[in-house]
Symmetry: C2
Subunit: 199 residues, 2 copies
């Protein structure tokens, strides 16, 4: 049996979302690294897979999925990981709330700050830092009241949100003021199967 | 039977996503407008519903959902609208791709431009216009090849993406160069039950 192929870039937090969930849930993937520095993502074969020309992309037979949140949902559905993607409408919607926060507030706060600081992306660093200062207190407050972002066990919500929060210090955004958030990160790191980001 | 309550603001594109889907899919909602200008979203009762202090919020008995994409998924799951939220893993993931684009690229392109132009939000107008110029050609290209964003019929993907694309001209972002996108908007507007945004 052929496993799904993850088109990957080791330091990408979006790719790490997928690798992390697959590791925690025991889903086998084939990893195929894409050389972003050489511009491989702009080549026609990759553009055919993903018109947005970014990683990650998942290819599973004829099925090609290009967004990290969508890949999480795809894998959870295909491998029936209903503990990570609950089936009750309210519980499922609670997970989707955090998929949105991950791709909006977390992306345009700590993740953008890291893109500038580490990779020289042409974004406004001060805007990303200011956005981080708006989003992190609310996440910290949420995690002061419970152990996991959505429900009483880890879900896709935690897998989507964790990478760019974990990587925030690389963008010069300190998490030290956010003790509940740091305690949640330690809970994530204690989960069986947990893997760190690749270097 | 009590219908779910949508905490709403008439000109909000995010609220319109929910009203539009509910209208197209025949889901009854009670609408409760929140007075954002008076700061009602900052009052403790609202902050209790939504720690992010923004609309929309859906309240259905004890279930409270705060993100527009999550509300779409909740309503589709609860009312079993599998035509709008397909159950096959690949088809479902394709919808989630566009939920992400709606809350990321579309939000930080045309939606942000409108927030500045129409409501004086302290965002950088030129950045939002530049982001729009990056996202719109890719969406247009996708819609040149097919009638709907995800699959061969309208889905939650179209309901999530349409509002801030439809509203783009209010932010000074012209859609005239994007003829496939405009043709898709006309298809949306011809659907039974279609409603426009409130004034």
């Amino acid at each position: 049996m052929t496993h799904p192929v993850l088109y990957n870039c080791p330091p990408s937090g979006n790719c790490y979302k997928v690798r992390l969930f697959a590791a925690l849930a025991g889903i086998p993937l084939q990893i195929r690294n894409v050389d972003l520095i050489a511009g491989e993502q702009k080549q026609p074969w990759f553009r055919e897979l993903n018109p947005w020309q970014h990683v990650p992309v998942l290819q599973d037979g004829d099925t090609v999925i290009w967004d990290s949140q969508a890949i999480l949902v795809y894998l959870a559905e295909k491998y029936q990981k209903t503990d990570w993607w609950p089936s009750a409408p309210g519980a499922r919607a609670r997970v989707v709330e955090w998929l949105s926060v991950s791709v909006n507030e977390i992306q345009h706060g700590p993740a953008d700050a890291r893109l500038v600081k580490l990779f020289g992306y042409p974004l406004r660093y001060e805007d990303a830092v200011a956005a981080s200062a708006r989003v992190l207190p609310t996440i910290n407050e949420q995690l002061s009241a419970r152990n996991w972002l959505a429900g009483d066990r880890p879900t896709l919500a935690d897998c989507a949100a964790y990478p760019y929060l974990f990587l925030a210090p690389q963008g010069g955004v300190s998490l030290a003021p956010y003790t509940a958030l740091e305690a949640w990160m330690e809970r994530m790191e204690a989960l069986p199967g947990y893997i760190s980001v690749e270097k």
